[in-house]
């Protein structure tokens, strides 16, 4: 985007606006001046003479002067210049932007109440509880705020962690001990380790040892190396920051642990760790330019956009939005399915099952891989599961 040309065109608008505005002010001042002069002249004359002819001539003079000023024409001119600058800027805008982003919008049932519920829960899961409540109040979707309470708990835990208090986090982890292990998460051990280090940095070596015995030993069977490393910290008390174990006391260590807690907390709730609203809108911004071009092309070909079941072209969005493995057979250029699964040839190249049937002409004779000189027979090919 040519931001510079946008700014340049806008600067012209501002310049003309200022000019037009000052011209008006000047014109008013000028008229006021003239009128005031006439007033004082008339008042001076009052004391000397009573000649109304003089007064009339002064008034006539004022009229002539005011007419000479051609103020209105000037103002009109300034306004015209401003309008020209504005239209030029508008033209630059039209060139720089997609002026109609709703071209690819489908006029389908897009229920407000569904969108509202998504927004309310977005606010809650971002920890914006006041906004969430205010929104729910205004839109009236009060019965769909199921994320409020659990996320209040999560943000409570995170707040405490920011104040270097691990108790609420530890309580939550202990309550969800089994589920965390099922997720093969070491979060509970990591929290205990951090607590151990915290006690240690306060110089309470005995307490730390005691803590390790109670809380770390139960994890020892699975995590020997980790616990040995922690115990070595005992030697470096008072100067952990300079020790090989400095990572344990760094603030990024705390941040990472907070991130992991968010991840596990959401996972146990059955919720994604990133706001699904943020994710979808970001995907929308990445995908919309392609969709807009597509609708233009389709409109030119008089093809129906509103009812089409599958897009005819791929939309290029970032790999972060890829949640499913998609295998497109390079021979047939078709997505694989249960009936036509991906197969691996002995050379390591993968094609769909139908392609192999085609290549081998349904026989057990060897055929050449379309991508390398190797040969294969159908029975050597192995179905792939992504």
């Amino acid at each position: 985007m040519e931001l510079d040309s946008l700014r340049e065109a806008f600067d012209r608008v501002v310049e003309k606006r200022v000019l037009s505005s000052t011209k008006v002010q000047e014109a008013i001042d000028q008229i006021v001046n003239e009128v005031k002069q006439v007033i004082s002249k008339m008042q001076m004359m009052d004391t000397d003479s009573m000649d109304s002819c003089d007064h009339s001539s002064i008034l006539a003079e004022l009229k002539a002067k005011l007419n000479e000023m051609v103020t209105l024409n000037q103002l009109e001119g300034c306004q015209k210049e401003l309008n020209v600058a504005l239209s030029k800027y508008l033209k630059v805008l039209e060139k720089s932007f997609n002026t109609d982003v709703s071209k690819a919008y489908r006029n389908v049932d897009f229920e407000d109440s569904t969108v509202n519920k998504i927004i309310a829960n977005h606010f809650y899961r971002q920890g914006l509880f006041d906004l969430g409540d205010s929104f729910v109040h205004e839109c009236g979707e009060s019965d769909e705020t199921y994320l409020k309470l659990p996320f209040q708990e999560m943000y409570g835990i995170l707040e405490a962690m920011k104040a270097r208090n691990l108790e609420p986090a530890l309580t939550w982890a202990a309550n969800n001990h089994d589920k965390l292990l099922q997720n093969s998460s070491m979060l509970e051990l990591k929290l205990h380790s951090l607590q151990f280090v915290e006690i240690l940095t306060k110089g309470r070596r005995d307490d730390a040892l005691q803590y390790a015995r109670t809380h770390l030993v139960p994890f020892a069977s699975l995590n020997k190396a980790e616990i040995q490393k922690l115990m070595a910290c005992l030697i470096w008390v008072d100067r952990l920051e300079q020790s090989p174990y400095a990572e344990f006391v760094s603030s990024t260590h705390w941040e990472k642990l907070a991130e992991e807690l968010i991840h596990q907390f959401c996972s146990l709730l059955g919720q994604p760790s990133d706001s699904p609203l943020s994710v979808t809108v970001s995907a929308g911004f990445q995908g919309l330019p392609t969709l807009l071009k597509l609708t233009t092309v389709m409109a030119a070909k008089k093809q129906e956009w509103q009812t089409m079941k599958q897009l005819p072209v791929p939309i290029d969005i970032g790999p972060e939005f890829q949640y499913h493995s998609v295998f497109v057979c390079p021979v047939l250029r078709e997505q694989s399915s249960d009936e036509n699964p991906p197969m691996l040839m002995p050379c390591g190249h993968a094609v769909s099952k139908q392609s192999i049937t085609k290549l081998s002409k349904s026989s057990s004779r060897p055929f050449k891989c379309p991508y390398c000189p190797s040969e294969a027979v159908a029975s050597q090919c192995k179905q792939l599961h992504f």
Partner: protein, 408 residues
């Protein structure tokens, strides 16, 4: 259902695929081009303010000039005193105008500042902090949604707590709110005043909002059984629309005969309550158009685009990962009437790490045909002395038994 489009594909990703970083940059630049409304609305607001100020100045100055030139002096002392008094009143009128012009200039400056703030925001898009840019972008879009839905309090709160007042159009919408509220109270005058303010531009876009408002006013007179008044109203305000809207005009004037208790369906609708909701909608449409806004909330537009891009047949199978928005009921419901996206190239996601498997992290195949990323299997092998356990089948094999798959 396949639909062949063989014109040059609009997607920039057709082979050879660009590098990930270049792809991201192109996408970012393309998505900034979507921000037309962001820069357009404050410009329209500035344009409107400047126009109003100019008109006021023009009108007042012309009035003062003609009043000054019509001043005359009657003979005698009282005559000159009256002339002085007249001129003095002109001076104070001019002072009043000057104050108004100063206020107007301040309003214009505020709008100029807003226009600039938005250009600065666009510059921030390429400044590198993507997370911040996307966060603010979502907030802007949410404020837009809430303003359109009349959730003014939350919209204002969100704008204030995020410090994005210059990036959203609360005052523009509050201006519209006056008209909307009055229409909901069955008052037409503010809406008509709005039409008068924007007369030339509404005419240019062939808007019939004013006609609809006039019709409603006429219908109200009929309802109140003020038939004579209704007829003279129709002569004055409806007749001028005859050339362009004759059919509707005939239909409505016929209500003079059918009255509000009519059972005739096509007339009954004119007397119904939701006619006012219809007027509110019509007003909103004209208002959006005038300010260069989309007719749909931006949020809905981007949600639809996002859902279309994310929607695959796999989302509706049992094991859709919960990081996928389409695993959630609300999103699925919204996506239902939207098309599925399409892939021209294989994209494989590692079942264990959820990362993309590509040339840097190629897919490895276990003897049972299950595929995982090199990263995941290397890690597993390191931890378990070279043993690999398939997380989905429990089968165990050696790292040495793995083979690389070449996916084109």
């Amino acid at each position: 259902m396949e639909m062949a489009i063989d014109t040059p594909s609009p997607s920039p990703s057709v082979s050879p695929a660009p590098s990930a970083a270049a792809g991201r940059q192109t996408r970012a630049a393309e998505s900034v081009r979507l921000e037309h409304q962001l820069v357009r609305v404050p410009l329209e607001a500035l344009r409107a303010t400047a126009r109003t100020n100019h008109r006021l100045a023009e009108k007042e100055i012309a009035a003062v000039l003609s009043s000054a030139s019509s001043a005359s002096v009657a003979p005698g002392e009282s005559g000159s005193a009256a002339a002085v008094e007249h001129l003095t009143s002109l001076v104070s009128r001019l002072h009043g105008l000057k104050r108004k012009m100063e206020e107007g200039a301040r309003a214009e400056e505020l709008q100029v500042q807003r226009c600039r703030a938005r250009l600065d925001r666009l510059a921030a898009a390429s400044a590198g902090d993507d997370a911040e840019w996307e966060d603010i972008r979502l907030k802007r879009i949410l404020v837009d949604y809430m303003l359109r839905m009349s959730y003014y309090d939350t919209a204002t709160k969100l704008a204030e707590t995020s410090g994005i007042q210059d990036l959203v159009d609360i005052d523009v919408f509050l201006d519209a709110k006056r008209v909307i509220d009055s229409l909901r109270n069955k008052e037409i005058a503010p809406a008509l005043a709005w039409c008068a303010e924007n007369k030339s531009r509404l005419k240019k876009s062939k808007s019939k909002l004013e006609f609809l408002l006039r019709l409603q006013e006429f219908v109200e007179l009929v309802k109140a059984k003020n038939f004579l008044q209704a007829i003279s109203y129709a002569r004055k305000y409806l007749a001028p629309w005859g050339s362009t809207h004759m059919k509707e005009l005939q239909r409505v004037t016929a209500t003079l005969v059918f009255r509000s208790t009519t059972n005739c369906v096509s007339y009954k609708v004119l007397f119904e309550q939701n006619q006012w909701d219809f007027l509110v909608d019509q007003f909103k449409q004209e208002f959006y158009k005038l300010y260069g806004m989309t007719l749909e909330p931006l949020l809905n537009i981007y949600l639809q685009a996002g859902l279309t891009a994310l929607k695959t047949p796999f989302c509706f199978e049992g094991n859709c990962p919960k990081e996928d928005p389409l695993s959630l009921d609300g999103f699925r419901k919204l996506a239902e009437p939207l098309p599925f996206s399409k892939q021209h190239h294989s994209k494989l996601v590692c079942h264990i790490t959820k990362e993309l498997m590509d040339t840097e992290n190629p897919p490895l195949v276990l003897p049972n045909g299950y595929v995982y990323s090199t990263k995941a299997l290397d890690e597993m092998a390191k931890k378990n002395g070279g043993k690999i356990t398939c997380p989905r089948t429990g089968e165990v094999c050696n790292y040495t038994e793995l083979v690389k798959a070449y996916i084109s």
